[in-house]
Structures are given as C-alpha cells and as structure tokens.
Symmetry: D2
Subunit: 354 residues, 4 copies
Amino acid sequence: MVVILKHGVNRDKADLVKQQIQKRYPHLTDIKISEGEEIITLQIIGSKERSINPTDIEGIEGVERYIPILDPYKLVSKDFQPYPTIIRVGSGKNAVEIGKEFVVMGGPCSVDENTPEIAQMARDAGVKILRGGADKARTSPYSWQGMGEKGFEKLAEAGQAAGLPVIGEVVDTTRIELASQYCDILQVGMRNMDNYWLLKELSQVDKPVLLKRNNAATFDEWMLAAEYLLLGKDDKGNGQYIGGNPNVILCERGILSFDKPNSRNVADANAVTQCKNKTHLPVVGDPSHATGKRENVVTTGLAYVAAGADGLIVEAHYDPSLAKTDSAQTIDMKQLSYLVKKGEELYNSLRSFI
Amino acid sequence: MVVILKHGVNRDKADLVKQQIQKRYPHLTDIKISEGEEIITLQIIGSKERSINPTDIEGIEGVERYIPILDPYKLVSKDFQPYPTIIRVGSGKNAVEIGKEFVVMGGPCSVDENTPEIAQMARDAGVKILRGGADKARTSPYSWQGMGEKGFEKLAEAGQAAGLPVIGEVVDTTRIELASQYCDILQVGMRNMDNYWLLKELSQVDKPVLLKRNNAATFDEWMLAAEYLLLGKDDKGNGQYIGGNPNVILCERGILSFDKPNSRNVADANAVTQCKNKTHLPVVGDPSHATGKRENVVTTGLAYVAAGADGLIVEAHYDPSLAKTDSAQTIDMKQLSYLVKKGEELYNSLRSFI
Amino acid sequence: MVVILKHGVNRDKADLVKQQIQKRYPHLTDIKISEGEEIITLQIIGSKERSINPTDIEGIEGVERYIPILDPYKLVSKDFQPYPTIIRVGSGKNAVEIGKEFVVMGGPCSVDENTPEIAQMARDAGVKILRGGADKARTSPYSWQGMGEKGFEKLAEAGQAAGLPVIGEVVDTTRIELASQYCDILQVGMRNMDNYWLLKELSQVDKPVLLKRNNAATFDEWMLAAEYLLLGKDDKGNGQYIGGNPNVILCERGILSFDKPNSRNVADANAVTQCKNKTHLPVVGDPSHATGKRENVVTTGLAYVAAGADGLIVEAHYDPSLAKTDSAQTIDMKQLSYLVKKGEELYNSLRSFI
Amino acid sequence: MVVILKHGVNRDKADLVKQQIQKRYPHLTDIKISEGEEIITLQIIGSKERSINPTDIEGIEGVERYIPILDPYKLVSKDFQPYPTIIRVGSGKNAVEIGKEFVVMGGPCSVDENTPEIAQMARDAGVKILRGGADKARTSPYSWQGMGEKGFEKLAEAGQAAGLPVIGEVVDTTRIELASQYCDILQVGMRNMDNYWLLKELSQVDKPVLLKRNNAATFDEWMLAAEYLLLGKDDKGNGQYIGGNPNVILCERGILSFDKPNSRNVADANAVTQCKNKTHLPVVGDPSHATGKRENVVTTGLAYVAAGADGLIVEAHYDPSLAKTDSAQTIDMKQLSYLVKKGEELYNSLRSFI
C-alpha cells in the first residue's frame, strides 16, 4: 500500500497517522514514511496488504488517498497457481475438458417443451454442453418467471437424451440443492455475482460453478467474487476457511453501456484477454447477452474467441421466434453451427500464440 | 407499443409480423398497421402492453425495434395511486412518519460495541431512526463480514435504549426471519435490488422495506424492483398474486461513475426528483455511499433534499476513525447535527413548491 | 415520430399539442391522433421526421416523451446507398482500396526522428498505410505537444521513402490546409468527432477523412458526425449544401469504461458489426487506444476483425520503449507482423459470411 | 510516482527499469527501489512528477502499473493559490463579482428575435448575466445551426438594453475575435473542453472564460483543461509560456449516464463540492443540460447550490414552447424567479459552513 497524505500535513502528523494505522492493524509493523517535496507518503509492501480495507485508511484524518499495490485477489491469480485449471464434466464420450478444448455451451434461454429437440440439434451443431433456464430472474414481475423445478428435470432429461452435460442457474441459496441434483455445472447469473451469501454456499458444493461477470463489475470485483468461491467459508470468523471450490469458470457477458438503445451491453473482449493474462481459470464469453441482437451474436462470439476465450455460451433455438424468452438474441441452428465451426478454427489458429 | 419494421419490409410481410405477435399474445386483437413513406410500423396502445416482453417482439423477423409507450410499472406509479404513501414506524413519542416529515436515519456502517453510545448521540443530533449493519456484504472475502445475529441483537438493544426505531439489512432469503425479529425496517442493499427471489419473499413480510437503487439500475429497473414488492408473489404462475408489501421506501445511493478514483459513485439527485414526479412512494438519499468521502457527505445530503428527498440515511460515528467499516465516508456528530438542521430547514422551505 | 402525451391529457389538449407542433413545423400536415386506454399518442411517419428536433416537441406542455421512428442519419445509411463505399488512396503498386481489401494502418503514435525507419519495417510487416501524429492533442499541458509542421513533413517523407500513403490528424480548422498538403488521409481524432465546425470544413476537402468515434458518443451521434462530412456545408442557412465529402472511413477506438484502471477504454466490437449492418462506409478498429495495453492490442485487433472490420489502425514501433508517446500501447514489429497475418487470415475466412 | 513492477521481476531487472526511466527523464535522479515480499516498486516524490507521462513508464518492460502521487494540475489548485479567485464583469451598478456573490446567468438557449424581451424579464427575475447562443454546435446537421454573427450582435444589444453583461459561446479558433467583440464572458462548450488548440488560443485572451466540463471528462481531465487556460501557450516548445488567462469559471453540466431515456445527463453535485475543496476557481452549475427536463431544472439547480456552487447558468424563456432550441429544458420566468430566490437563500445559509 501507499498512503498519500494531504498537502500541508507535516512529519509529526504523519507519525500520528502511522500510529492510527497500526492501532487498527497491529501486524503492520514496518510502515515507512517518505517526505517528498510537496507531500508525505507512507508505504508498506507485502502480502499483509490484502487484509487492509482502503476506506479504513482513508478515514484517518490527514489522509488524502490509499493506493493498493498488490492485486486484491490471490487464489485465482496466475502468480499463485501458474498452470491452467482444467475442468472436466460429463463422462465417457460425452466428457468435456473446459480450459483444454474449445467448448460451446448452447441451448434455449428458458427450458420449455421444445428443449429436448433443441438439445439434439445443438449437439449436432457441435455444442458440447446444454444450457437452459429453469428458475428465471426477470426485470419485470409481469414477465414469465420460468418453469422452476420441472424445468430442471426437463433440462436434465434433454441433456441425457442428447448425450450432453447440462448447465443451469442457481438464483438463491435455497435452490442450490435442487439445481445440484440436476445440473453438471451451476451458473451464477450476472445479478448474483455480488451475492456473497450465495457464493459462500457455492464454495461448499462439489460441482463446477460458472461465474458471470456483473455488467457493472470492475475486473477486480469480478476476480474477488471468484476468490469467494475458491476460498471457502469462514463460519466462525476466525480465519479458518471451510471448503472452497476450485472449479470455477469465468464468463464475460457484456458490461453496462451508455448506448443501450443500440447495444444491450458491450462485450468486453479486453477483459477476456486480461483473464488469460492474470488468472489460471478458464473463461468463456456470452455473446447473446453481450449484444442482445441475433444478427450480432456470431461476430461478437468470434470476437471473444479472438480475445482468448476458452469457449462460448449462447442462446440458440431451431426457431428463435418460438423462444419463450430472449427471442431477439437467440440464434438459429445454422448460425450456431457456423459459430462453432469458425470459433474452433480461430481458437486452434491462435492457440499457439496467446 | 410501437413496433418499427425494417426498411424494405412490405405490407404483406407486415401482416405476417402481426400474425406472429398475435400467436404469442392472443389478447392483442387490435394491432394497427401504419404505412409510412420509408417504413411500416405496428401500434397498440393500452394496458395490455405491460405483459409484452420487448425481446419477444424484436425476435420476430422483419422487426427493427420495439418501443414501449407506457411506463412498465404500475402499482408504484402516481397514475395508479395519486396520494403519497406515508410509512409509520415506532410508536408513542418515538413514532416517525416517513413521507410526511423530514427523517434522517443515521448510525454506524457496521454494528459493534460502540453502537449504543452512537445511538444516543445520533438521537441528540436529530436522527429519528437508527441504522447499523449486522450481516455485511463485502467486496473482498478477506474483509470483515459483520457480527451477524449478535449484531442484530445489539442494534435492537441500542435502538430501544435510545428510543429509536431501527433499520437493518437483509442479505439472503434465509435471513429474513432473523432480521424481522429485530428490525423495524428491512433494508435491501444495492447489490440485492435485482435479487428478485429475495424481493418476492419480502413482499410477504409485514415490515416496511427500504429498497436501495442498484448503482447500475435505470430508473425503470428500480421502479420494477419496487413493483415486485408491492405486487406480491405468484406462486403457481397463474396470475394470482399472494401478499404484496405496500410499505416501500425508495433510496438513491449513487450510480456508477467512469470517474471512480474521484467519486465512489455519483449522487443522482435528478432521479430523486423523478421519484417524486412519478411515484407515490417516499424516497430518501444516501450521501455516504453516493460520495464515499466524509467531506462531501453533508453537501451531497443537502443536494438530495434540494432534489425533493423525504429524508436521508447516513453513516455517522462519534469518532469516524474508529468505524469498523466505511470509515472514510462516516461523518462525525457535529457534521450530522448540522446536516439534520440544514436539511430540515431546506425541506421545509421547499415543501410548498415541489 | 411518436409523441406520447402525459397521463391525464385529454383529446382537447391533444389537439392543442398538435397545433403547437404544426405551428413550429408547418409542413407536418398529416399528424394522426390515437386515443389509447391510458394515454393519447400522436404519430407521423415519413422522412420529414429528420428535420424535427426532439426537444422542441418535448418542450410542449402535455408531452411526456418524443420517440423518433427513423434513423436520424440518411446519407451514411445502407438504405440510401446499398453498395459499399470503397476508398482508394496511393497509386501504382502502393494503391490501397479501403473497404475492398484488408488494410492495416500502422506507425508511431507521434512522428519523430525514428519514423522513417519504422515506416520501412512496418511496410515489411504488411502495413499498407503509415500513421503518425504531428499535431498532438494531450490531456495535460505539461505533456509534449508534438512536432507540428515539421512532423507532417517528416511523415510524408517517411511514407514516400517506404512507398506507403500516409494518414495524419487535423486538430483545428486552421490546420486543414497544412495537413492536406502532406497527408493522403486526414484523421479526425476522438476529441474532435463532435467538433462540427471542423467537420463542416472537412466536408469541403478533396481527401478521404478517417472519423474516430468519440469515446462517449452513441452509435447514432457517431453516424450523424459522418453525416456532417457527407452532407456538406449550408453557408447561408437556406438548405443549399455546398460540397460534401463522400470518402469517409469510420474508426472505432473504444468507449468510456467504469473500469479505467483495468482498461483505458472498452473496444466496442458490436458497434463495428452495426456499422457493417447499417452503413455503406468502410470501418476500421483501433485496438491501441481501445485497450491502452501492449499485451492486449493483438487480441483486441483480431476481435475487431472478427466483428467485421475492414482494417485496423495501430501504434507500432521497432522499440516501443522508445516511443515518444503512448509507449504502453505501442506494439513491436513482431506483434505487428503477427497481427497483420492473422488479421488477414480471419478477414478472408469470414468474408463470405458477414 | 510509484512504479509497480510485475510479479517475478527481480532486483537486477528493477535496476534496468530505473535506468530506462532515467534515460527518458534524466532529471529524475533520486528514484528509490523498495523490495517487497511479493513484488518490487520504484518511487519518486516531488514536483518533477508532473512532467512524467504515465504511459511512457508503463511502456517499459517489467512495469505493471504507474501510480501518480500528486494531482496532475497545479495552477488551478488551492495548494498553489489558497485564496479564491473572484472574477469581475460589467461595470457600475451592473458590475458582478463571480466567486463572491451568488450569480445566476440566464437567457435563451439560442439568440433570436425574442432575446431582448427575455433579457429584460430575466433581469427582473434576478438574473445578473445574460446568456444566449449565436454559433450553435448541434448533434444533427439537419438541425438549425444558430444565427452566427448576427446572433452575437443581438445578444450584446439585448444585454446592453437590459443592463446585463453577456456570455456567449466560442466554437472554433476562428470565432474568438468575433465573440470577444460582443461578449463579456467567453463560454467553452462541453464538446470543446478537450479542444486544446482552442484552449491555448483562449489563454491569450483578455476576457473571462467559462469552461464547461465535458460529460465524459474525469475531474482531473477537467482541471487539466482549466490548467491549459491558466498556463498559457508554449509556442516554441521550449517551456516558455506566453499569456495565461487567470479568469476561469468552472461549469458542471452533468455527466454521461447509462440511463439516457430518463436523464439526458447526471448532475454531478459531488464534483462541484470537489471544485470548492481542490481549486480556487469559482464554479457554477448548469441544471438545464444536466437534466434535459424543465420540471427537474429547479430542484437540480438547488442541488448544485447545496453542493457549493457559486452560481448557476440556466436556459429560460418567457414562453419555453417558443424557444428555438432546447425547449424541453427551458424554464419559464416564474420558475426562474423562484430558482434565483431560493438559490440565493440557500447560498447565504450555507456560506458560513462550506
């Protein structure tokens, strides 16, 4: 950390600031004070920094600004684990290795009676994991809220019939057990990325978790959410963590835009590259939610792959106009098939370099 | 709704679009087609619109854009209930009428051993409701996560001793019962504004709910979250709503900024005015989270009042440098007292006009 | 246009609104009034709409909202010109056809003494047009402001020696003549995209213009800026336009992010796809400014190509650490060469589909 | 500055980084190297920092991040000039002291034939300076572009007749002379805040300049734009600055929002408070552009005053529906009069504290 003191704070006051920091964080024994030409700064460099809460320091009188030096996350970092995490789902010839091979997860936005048929066609188009929503999180209470438990059942059946592992969303702590019963991968939707209560529970589960980035989360906030999953739960608040789920898949699905009428979100391809540079976790892109527009899904999907994604998750239907939800961003089987093929080509072509 | 068709779509294709809309929404019997000079549009005006999901329509081939005509929310609207909702908490001489009198809710960010003393001093400074966090939602898993159940206990005791009703946050559906036991008002934090599963459960509770705006939520998304609370729960998906909680307080606490180093969030005073123009619900501003900086809390608090707020919720401590969390944005008792006094003056001075 | 009236406005008042609109816009003779269940709307569909200023209508009492139906731009639209615009620069074996072949424009951020050498190496790496800044627009007055006129001279010389056409930036109306003397393409930087005075003058110039998108401009605002260039100048305010420059290249260079520390801007690949869907103008991506980080430039560049870009403009140097400006986002010759090669491969592979 | 090196960079490489920094900036003789537990950092504290360009440092191999310690601006800072700048315009009984008394600048968005009448009424409502646009910067080329030179004439005449100094906008370097001839204050519109070529020319002019904040500018970028005005012009690039205009008025007019349909911009009241905390320059708020909505102008105007503004600039008309431009955000004389009165009351009430 570097602590910048306000203009006009002298050495005596700087010592007081140091004392106040140490009163709160007694283990910070080696804070150095540097007197500059215009201002004074305090520094400490070391892993102790991660336990410091910036606003604690900025709350001390005389402090202008707190600057962290280290990345705030640790377990998700490549510095901590240099080799890539590979996540295996399914078995036999349906086995998939996320982080090692190019993987497209596809299927309808919401599970309904057409899901089994879509599953078969999606598999033929090259999809390796079936997606589909059972519990839905809808902006309006007047919108359809999904099939719930029956949806999970149907999703699992459709996956089994098509020979595909399935991914489904968990929207509340009370639904983890249900979802775990039916799904091979549990999805945390973008609205729940910062639902830390849910993340702590999912850190106790023996299923891979796909963690969508909230559309307003910084890269660091997203990484810290993943850190919650890997770290486990400190029930007694004594620094003893229970559990911890190492099988986390990151998912970029577009960030908030000032130009909503033209773009539901903005695909942040750069963040995907940063995931590959900074973490050991696999990362996929979701071009359906990133664009909101069927005609832009394929190009944005390829853009994610160009940026280094290990795979994609897309909404697809044999007749998108029949999709129960998200029809406008649902692609058809021809587009899906093209996306899988071109995506794989590009993935293989870039693999040696990125 | 107005449905704008793509350039080049002719009358025959427009009829097909109309048919597809009616196949999905059979009750939309009166769709009109208008042929313009360059393009064709379809229109329907009426309350049926609220059941339409824009992406369903935009998913139909030939459709360029869907434009809603009505506000998507109903129960929270002034058009539906023209007189203001007034929410009563506390009793006897501690009774408070939110929406009728100027109300400052104040107290520490997190409950700890100093809370009882803060409560007394906050009351003396003019605070009418005690705030304090027991279950905390923290960005980093390495940050302190709050006192939990013991925190709720202590908060309730401190409020009782000082003669103040209390407000506390609910972070998960499994914590509603606990929080309800101790708190007079249940707070939904900004990260949970779009946790619809939680909102549905809170629509069944007999306690007022303070609903913070997510820092990335549009005005309409915020209003729809409130609508979830007022509307109740449709357990069987048959359009029969159970419960519904009419006692909702809106809370603006700043929105996402591209200038984070200088401003944690941006206080959206304009949104407060819009609340007063559009809804019958009381609205308060949270200048602590909106600014993140102690020295800007008072001015931003007054800016919210100038914009029409019915009150404020602020983090305060007799010695902000001791605050367990959010120290940098916690004001002291002198600032609190000034804010209450000037806020009330301004509130009364503007009351006749707004 | 659709004009939505406020809740409670009756038919008589709606007639008054119609009269007020027609008083301001006498040629809008065919406004239709539709009485809905909750509210009344007014409509007119036709090209007359583009002359309407939304805030004029929203300023009329009783009006809730103005909704445009048509895209606000015309000359840049595919609906107006269905075949793609191809822009030719250079001659003989140095001739380049932007919009027809894959084109990478590359070179140093700022022109300096190393520019001639960079030009040669960039050409060998596959670059077809040399870029380099002479007049620089710097955020801080304490930063180096560029070589000015001498820079233009050196840029032109370096291009000629390497057999490459050159592109240079025009920062003010008083510099158009100078820049035109030395450059084959005139660049409008992102800060000047909405400098309409400059655009009007550039609409009179016989050189292609590359128009960067402002990092806070919506897609429509960007297109309207291009429309200024194509339309020409109405000196006398009588609707008679002089000039008009049909040779406009669009350039996406990233939009404003709430996550600046991690990403200088966010590459909006989706906007590139939208350019291809909506306009006939060629579009290039600028991954250097979009990312701000050398290690992310190649992947983001390929993401732009995946999204449909006709080419790229990148900052490159044989030794990026020597770059006078923008060193952090300047790639070296090996990266440049890889980007050109993989970019071209991808461009050709996708060409048939997009 | 603090330079954070990448994980894994050892002491020898750190020395190399230091050498490369000193090669570029020979005057940085006292760089200290600190070896931390996980990483190494380099530091230098002193005014030399302002000459460093962050991307130069981040461009060096092995560097992870550059962190500035000092504010990047100097002349506008309170640290440099502790007493407030007061700007005098007009003379005799029309004299106004901006920064000392509460000042509302008001008038039509665009000058037209009604301007003289508006001027008289605005003066009666308490306005002290007349505003009005002659050269207009319009998003669409199909919108009316203003009266130009005749508009400046009419504005000056209207001001003289009403006994009010006038403020008018300069949209291009070639219009400075014209505008200076007629106006008492020159306005730089939000689109030109980062038009550094224009700012350099205005640093040579003997008239106060009102500098609007670009709606996508960070606080620091805005301050640096003001720094351009105060610093003057370094024609020969030898560090010798000519001129410099000390009479700069800052103007906050709302920043970019992700919620445009509900709010044209978001008034950043917090930034106004920050201006008062950080600089010696007077600051005014522009609630018309910040909200875009007549019914929200008064409350947002008062919010700016609550935040510490020295005054306001507002669009007003005796009949807003007649306003040639920006009709929707133009208030009438009754609202104007109320805003001036309540604004002044609030300003005086808070004066002692802020």
